[in-house]
Amino acid sequence: METSNKTVQLDAARALVTALEADNEKAAEHQLTILTQSQESELFHEVGKLTRELHEAMNNFNLDSRLVDLTENDMPNTRERLNYVITTTEEAAHKTLGYIDQTLPLASELKSTADKIDQSWHRFRMKEMNADEFRALSKEIEVYLPEVKQKSDQIHANLSEMMMAQGFQDLTGQVIRQVIDLIEEVEDNLVRLVKISGQHSEIKPEGNKKVDPIKAEGPQINAGDNPNVVNDQDEVDDLLSSLGF
């Protein structure tokens, strides 16, 4: 194409020179027209080429529907997932700190009463205590022993709650794994996109993946919005009992 265009241009240029030398105005004008036209056709050809490239690039974008899906659905979803991680870890931290706040005074109260009784008991052993003081001491011990039981039970219960609060690590860990998977997928797709823009290689559109209804998904982020998801243990129990459990 280009070579033939060049031949046309050279021929026209030579003919133009000849026509000018011969003072043939009409012929000179004709050759000039040929030259301009050939110039224009080259420009059109270039524009045409650019248009086709742009069109192909747009088509490639459309072909890679997974990339579109990633941007439209998975990215906002990931934002929600990461917010879920923040909320869940925050709740767990506050819950744990709250139980620590409740438990520390229990331990201090037990200790201070024990210290007091210990001192009195020491005085009794040294025979430094009169009968009234001893009666007061036995009363104190009588009150203290059930208190030890009650407060230790409370400490045990609080420690159990603190332990349960650590379940956040499993829940947020599952969500973070999903986010890592997504980042890897985005990375792969971007690498493919870079390859496509570098060379117009054919890419195959990904068929819609089969949806497995029982695929493990980890914690549901907006369970309330999804009627297909149970919200708490009561709903699990209801569903199971409707199945004859």
């Binding site: 159990s160 332990m163 349960m164 650590q166 379940g167 956040f168 690590q169 499993d170 829940l171 860990g173 599952q174 209804p213 029982i214 493990a216 998904e217 980890g218 914690p219 549901q220 369970a223 297909n228 998801v229 149970v230 919200n231 708490d232 243990q233 699990v236 569903l239 199971l240 199945l243 459990f245």
Partner: protein, 125 residues
Amino acid sequence: MKILIVDDFSTMRRIIKNLLRDLGFNNTTEADDGLTALPILQAGGIDFLVTDWNMPGMQGIDLLKAVRADEKLANIPVLMVTAETKREQIIVAAQAGVNGYVVKPFTAATLKEKIDKIFERIDAQ
């Protein structure tokens, strides 16, 4: 009574282990997914299985199916403790023969209630 706890997160295994100890079950052993759990089960001596669903390797639902399909293991009670809350999933687990289904996050009281219920049913048989 020997209990096998299967979960890929060591923190959750620890929580369940501590809760079970509080409930009087001191003899527990652990695995981090279905693939490591199966040989332990097949080696014998496990009386009760507590498993998560979402794990790399072999998932809890497949472990449950493998247990039910194995003549020697088929009667082991299985409690699923999981964050999976889709109705289809719970139905599939029920159909696969799960004995109890606890959703995370759960309370100590819920775990106790479900375990008690499983043993009540076994005793009644």
